[in-house]
Structures are given as structure tokens and as C-alpha cells.
Amino acid sequence: MDSRDLMEKIVRILEKTYYGDVRFETGRSFGIGKNKSEENINTASSIGLCIRVFSDNKWYYLGFNEFNEQKILDETKKLVRRVGNKPSKLVLKDPWETDTEIRVKKNHFDVDQDEKIKTVRGIFNRLTDNKKIINASVGLAHATSEVIFMNTEGSVLRQVLPYFKFVMSPIAREGDRVEYDFFVVAKQGGYELFTSIDLDKKIKDVINGSIQMLKAKVLKGGAHDIIVDPEVSGVIAHESFGHGCEADQVLRNRSYLAPLKGKKIVSDLVSMHDNSSLKGERGYFVFDDEGVKSSDTTLVKNGVLTDFMHDRQSAAFLNSDVTGNARAQDFSRKVFVRMSNTYIEPGDWKRDELIEETDNGFYLIKAMTGMEDPLGGNLQIVTFKAREIKDGELGELYKGVGISGKVLEFLDRVDAVTDNFEMRGSGCGKGHEDYVPVSSGGPYMRVRKAIIG
């Protein structure tokens, strides 16, 4: 089947509506997973066609993965006849064209599978070469996603994006106690992302991390001064703050940030972005799933709420411009306003200086889970581990803790931000579903009197 020819035919039918677009997706993925008892190679290929029509301020979708051309054209005609061309509010843009394939130094699919599996086995053997390590999991995965997009504005777009993920996690046991630590890289790029990892150091660190967790204590909750690492900063930026900046939530009367645009809401040390044009990060793209160019949206500048993230519909209703944040999990799911690469800007403190100048408190390391609360603006973050800070020095190790309270109050208590800055790739759901690749990050930040437990 010639997908472009079919898409052009579909667009000609959609031209009878207020707005319509068609998105053709293909994907190819490869992954190796290994632990003590299993070794799997999982390959997948996928295809999907999503047709969208906007009329009378409602979206109508059709999704297909079996390409019976006549059936698809008939269903499209039927839908267009049913919904008609009723007045609607949507931001319309000038047509544009792109055909972009992200270049990589070494394509993952060109690397021999034998080499990859030998590498994974080698890492597994090194992780388990310690009597306290009873098992380990190692995962190496990559994927290529191609999207062709056409719409009734006349845009014709194509992008090919390369994804990479590596994870390793040794499991330590002492008596009845079983603990673990983990190391993850999830970005866009070629096999060079893997070969550039300092594996010797990371393997050593993650083994030590797992063994040290066997002695970690349980922290008693309460209000404490804390320092969060870049991963935790990123999850706060994404989960606790970013979801409230998604303009569909504003449009639904479901964002605590809705009345605060233009106002000073948090510490002036905090500036925040959602930047879908940040190449190499997991949330990067050339155009979003409505055919809008990616961009850098400043959400907070020196503590002032400056902007929200938009799709075509929210931008039209809130008299804003689109920001290129419309994304769908795949052809079978709705396009929503979604984040991409969300981060807090670095400051000018040094990490070590920050710890030295904190009398007492806790240093929270790595994020485990975070949940959005766009209406309530509550923090719902669980971190992986914590170190006590006593007289400016790192002390006892504790198990991970939750962070609670209101995010604006929390970010208003930020009194120091470092110049170190890191991003971590992951997946983001809207609520409990509709996962899209994203990254989040930031600097180390000190927050006074945060509720942890």
C-alpha cells in the first residue's frame, strides 16, 4: 500500500470539514532483557493510521491498523457526512513541510545482535559477581518511530526519531532483607549513547548502592530542610507543576494555576521550561501530533507563571498560540496536551557547597513515582533513598520517602539552586494511561521545611 497516496485521498475527503488531519505511524523496536532466570529478546513492528475531524467543537477519531483502503475511505466519508462542517474554534496555522530523520552516529539496528547480547550478559555477570548480589536485571532497548502527517491546512510532514534505553538493577540480600538500586539512561540517539556510558564506574556505583541499601533505615516523617537531586527536581517540575500547566486542564477548570498566569507564584530562584525542541532528550520531536512545530515554552520565569502548554483547541479557547504540545500514545488514542522535556533552570550554587551550608536536613535521591494533582496542586512524590545532613555533612542512609504538601508552597521555599543540571528520560501518563516518552530534570535545590515521610 502507498501510504502517502492513501493519506492524500483521506485529506481530500476531510477538506469538507472545519479541520481534519491524518497521521500514519510506523514503529520498529528491539529489546534484550536478562536476569538470573530469563533472557529475552523482544522485537516488534507496528503500524497505525489515525484520522481526526474537528466539527462543532468536538473531535471525532477513526483508528486503523489493517489497511483495507476502500474500507478506510468509506468510513472516512461516512464520518465526514455525519459530522459535517459546523463552526468551530481551533487555532489554524499556515501550511509547512518537513522531512526530518534524526541522524545518529551509529544506528542501533546496524549493531550485530550477537554483540548486544554478549554485552548484556557481560554486564549481568559483573553485576552478580558479588556474594551479596543474588540477582540483577539488565535491559537494553531501542526503537525507531516514523510519523507522516498531513492535514487540511496543506501541511505535509515526516519525522523519524530514534529512542534508546538502558537499565541495570542489582538485587542485594542479607538475611531476610532484600534491597536494590538502579541506573537508567533513556534518551534519543544511536548506539553511541550506550558506548559513551562509563560502565565500569556505573556498575561499581550501582552494586555499592544496592548493598548500602541493606543498611538503610526508615525515616520518621515530619517537616525538614531538604536538598533534592536533579531527578527529584525534574519529577516535581513534571508531575507536581507541569501537569497543572497543561492548558486542557485550564480549559476544564481543573488547574490550580489557571488564575495565576502573570503572577509571582514561587521563589524567584525557580524558572521552568517545557522544551520539545531539546534534541537528544526523550521528549524531543520536530512536530507534534497536530502537525505543530516543537518549541521551548517558558512556564515560569524567576518565580512568575508566564505560560501554559497548548494544543490547537486550548490555544483557541484561551486566546493563545499553539506551543507544540499535542501528543498521543499511538494511533488508537486521543491527542492531549502533553509535556515533552520539562525542567527547572540551573542556578549558581555548587552541590557540595549547598550540602556544606545546610545545618540539618535530608538529601533526597532519585525519584520512584510521582502523581499529578492538577486541581489540588499537591505534591505526591516518592523518592528512592535519602541521606541525613548533619552539620553540613552527609550522614546516615535512609529508605526512600514521600514528599507531601502544596507544590507552590514547596517551590516558594526554594532558597538555593545549583549549577549542576541533569535530565532523565521516562514515560508519562495522563492520569493512569496514555503514555508518551518524556524527560524531566533540573538542578539540586534546597527547600526549607518540606513535609516528608
Binding site: 532466570s37 533472557e39 529475552n40 522485537t43 503500524i47 471525532y60 477519531y61 520517602v401 504538601g405 514515560g427
Partner: protein, 444 residues
């Protein structure tokens, strides 16, 4: 399509399994008390496992000849590259007839979601805003064939409802956000709205709980996310083989009043099916009997590995989000089926009535215990103080923290009614309310 894939696989492999799935999805979204999105999608695909020294797997939703051949080639290649495993695909066995289909969804899923959405909009009081809502029906056909002559078909429906209910009074705006899955719409009647709206209204006057150690009653969905994820992880043959299970058969691991079953046959349970995702008949497997751990559950792989029979616990379900329409894309995992907790003898009212001071948690923000250690820390999204045996002030916020292995030994009561429930971390349960003693809360 079935015959084409089968013909091609037979040419390439001696030991194989083909998993075919086709799902029709009908969905409507509500936005600010109006319908704003209508979708109809058909998703189909296949996953192929080949055992040829090692185990290989590949999946696709592309049905062209060349794609099928490539998918088989990929599965074969990976089976020859991965480590040698002793394995045999399951032989055909007779499975029990179970209830998994909602006739209204089967007959007309499009009308079901449309009518359900309309009924919700009709039932909403004027002071409540449905900020957004999703009503979705899945209608799936699944077929599993393998080289041992197994050829099993099953059909199942699923229904999903997600609502953001917002109420605003005197400048205060609060939300209750239920998200539930069931097999049938009648198990999630529109009349449930009354209870959810009450919870939403109570949020207006909710207080942040005090820091204390106290008695907590967990609701069925929080029991599922809490105990379900921990007991599920440690009851699998995979956990035993990998040396990470904290359970040993015959050991007392919980209070005597706790009995837990992995029940693959419960009528209209979300994980219920005559046979699992490898074609092995599902059944009821007792995990914990009056506080004593009884036995691990196995899929085919870990069954062979541990010299046991599969217990029908090879299920294709996601680890991070629930999978209904793309089960073909994942390998079967060794996991529990419906997490069934045997009800106790006391009514919920009696359980509450016996508490001088404590808390009832209706919903957590997202309860995700660490499966290895059992530790957890989660914010209360909706709950109530219990004072002198009565429900008193609503509460919201504060962190409940602890360890589920410890809490399992501190159960002081289980309600006498178990209901089908879905969680945010674990999909399928049939759970009652459970009362735990000495639970830590970090609040004000």
C-alpha cells in the same frame, strides 16, 4: 489471517505459539459536562513465541505477508541467540466455562458508551462539574495456538470509566477523581456517582490529618494496590526461582484472619478467563490460608523451571499500565490472577464501630509499594477520621507510610463483603475493607 500465520510458522519452527488478538474500542470523552470526543478504533495484532534452544518472541500488528515472515524470522533468530532453556509449550487441557462477556458491549459497544455518557450527564447535580470524563468499552477476541495442538479461543469485554468531579464553594475548589475498570457496565452502575459525589463534597471540609500512629481501615481498591502488589510479587514462582520471595510454604506471614486466593475463575473478574495467555486453564490458587503461605503460582516457563505444573498464571498484563487491546505485544508473565481476599465476619459498620480513634482511607493518590521491600508512602486523596466508632471529619493529605509485610501481621478485622475492584497499580481484585493497627501517618 490465522491460517496464513500458522502456515508460515510451521514452515520455520517445530515449537511455537501464536497469540492473536482483535479488539474493537469505542470511546467517548466528556469535557465540562459536554461530550467532546468520539472514537472508534479497531486494533489487532499477533505475538509469536518460538522455542528453538532458547526462547524467542516477536510481535506485530501488520498483516502483510512480508511482515508476518519478518516477525517469524525475528522470533526464530532470537530463540537461537538467547540462552538455552528447558521448555515445552502447554498441551491442550479442558478449561472451565467462565463469565467474561458483557452482552450489551458485545452487541453494540458504540451505543453502550454513548448511553452511559448521556446517563452520567443527566445524573450530575448542577453544582458538580465533570471537568473531564472517559467512557470506554473494549470487545476482544483472543486465539492461542501452539505446536502441541493447543487451539483455544476466548472472548472478553472490558469497560473503563474515569471522571474528574469538581465542586466549588466559597472560593474553594476540590476534586474527586475515580478511575475504574470492570468487565460489565452493570458492575459500575451510574448510581455509583452518588457515593463519588459525596466524597467530592466532603473534600470541601476535609482537614489535613495529624501526625500519629493509629488504626487505619483500607477500602477495597487500596487493599488491592497495597496487599495485592506485595503478595502478588512474592507469590510467583518467578520470585521463588530468583530468590527474592519473602514467602515460604507453610510459614505464617500474616494475621490468622487473612486468606488470599489468586482466583482466575471469579465471575466477571478483570483477569478471569477460562485459560491464561498461554492456553493453560485458569483456576483458584490459594496463596495465603488463615495467615499461612500455601503455594506459589506458576506460568509454563517457571513451572518447567521449578519442576511444577503451570497453575494457569501466565498472563499478559503490563507492569506500568493496564493492557487490554495490545496483549499480543508482550510476553506472558508469571503473575497472580484476580486478587481475591476472603471476606471476614464483621460488617463494615462493625469494623468502624470498634475503632475509638482511627482513619478510613477511601483513596490514595497513588499507592505504589516497593515490591521488593514492601515499603510504601502515599498521600491520602480521600479519607475520614473515625472517632468513638463513628465516621467523623473528612481528611485529605498527609502521608501514610509503612511496610506491608509488617502490616499484614497487624490485621484486626476484615469486612464481610468483597467486591470486584480495580486499582491504580494492580488491575484486578475482589476485596473487602481491611483494618490495620499501628499505622504511621505523617501529617500536620
Amino acid at each position: 489471517m490465522r491460517d496464513l500465520i500458522l502456515k508460515q510458522v510451521k514452515k520455520s519452527a517445530k515449537e511455537y505459539e501464536i497469540y492473536l488478538q482483535k479488539t474493537e474500542i469505542n470511546e467517548i470523552h466528556i469535557q465540562k459536562n459536554k461530550i467532546g470526543f468520539i472514537d472508534k478504533t479497531v486494533n489487532s495484532g499477533y505475538g509469536i513465541r518460538i522455542h528453538d534452544r532458547g526462547m524467542g518472541f516477536s510481535s506485530s500488528n501488520i498483516f502483510s505477508n512480508s511482515a508476518i515472515k519478518q516477525t517469524i524470522k525475528n522470533a526464530l533468530k532470537s530463540s537461537r541467540m538467547t540462552q538455552k532453556v528447558d521448555f515445552n509449550f502447554p498441551t491442550p487441557k479442558k478449561s472451565k466455562k467462565v463469565k467474561t462477556i458483557d452482552k450489551p458491549i458485545r452487541d453494540n459497544g458504540e451505543a453502550v458508551v454513548r448511553n452511559y455518557a448521556k446517563q452520567i450527564l443527566k445524573s450530575i447535580p448542577k453544582d458538580i462539574l465533570i471537568s473531564f470524563g472517559k467512557v470506554r468499552a473494549y470487545d476482544s477476541q483472543i486465539q492461542i495456538m501452539n505446536s502441541e495442538g493447543l487451539d483455544s479461543k476466548r472472548e472478553e469485554t472490558n469497560f473503563m470509566l474515569e471522571l474528574s468531579l469538581i465542586i466549588e464553594k466559597a472560593g474553594k475548589k476540590v476534586e474527586f477523581w475515580p478511575h475504574e475498570y470492570r468487565r460489565r457496565i452493570k458492575d459500575l452502575p451510574v448510581s455509583n456517582l452518588k457515593q463519588w459525589i459525596k466524597i467530592a463534597r466532603d473534600q470541601l471540609i476535609a482537614v489535613t490529618p495529624e501526625t500519629e500512629r493509629t488504626t487505619i481501615i483500607f477500602s477495597p481498591n487500596t487493599v488491592l494496590d497495597g496487599l495485592g502488589s506485595i503478595i502478588g510479587s512474592h507469590s510467583s514462582g518467578a520470585a521463588k526461582v530468583n530468590g527474592v520471595s519473602k514467602f515460604n510454604p507453610g510459614e505464617k506471614i500474616a494475621s490468622e484472619n487473612l486468606t488470599v486466593i489468586s482466583d482466575g475463575l471469579y465471575p466477571y473478574g478483570l483477569m478471569t478467563s477460562g485459560f491464561d495467555d498461554e492456553g493453560v486453564p485458569q483456576r483458584k490458587n490459594i496463596l495465603i490460608d488463615n495467615g499461612i503461605f500455601k503455594a506459589y503460582v506458576y506460568d509454563q516457563y517457571y513451572g518447567v523451571r521449578d519442576n511444577r505444573e503451570s497453575t494457569g498464571n501466565g498472563l499478559r498484563q503490563g507492569d506500568t499500565f493496564f493492557v487490554f487491546d495490545v496483549k499480543y505485544g508482550g510476553l506472558p508473565g508469571n503473575r497472580i490472577s484476580n486478587f481475591y481476599v476472603e471476606p471476614g465476619k464483621k460488617t463494615l459498620q462493625k469494623l468502624i464501630g470498634e475503632v475509638k480513634h482511627g482513619i478510613l482511607v477511601d483513596h490514595f493518590s497513588w499507592l505504589v509499594p516497593d515490591p521488593t521491600s514492601g515499603n510504601f508512602s502515599s498521600e491520602i486523596r480521600a479519607g475520614y477520621y473515625i472517632d468513638n466508632g463513628q465516621i467523623s471529619k473528612p481528611i485529605k493529605g498527609g502521608l501514610v507510610a509503612g511496610n506491608f509485610f509488617e502490616l499484614m501481621k497487624n490485621i484486626s478485622g476484615i469486612s464481610n463483603k468483597a467486591v470486584i475492584t480495580s486499582g491504580g497499580t494492580v488491575l484486578a481484585g475482589v476485596c473487602p475493607y481491611i483494618r490495620f493497627e499501628e499505622v504511621q501517618i505523617a501529617g500536620k
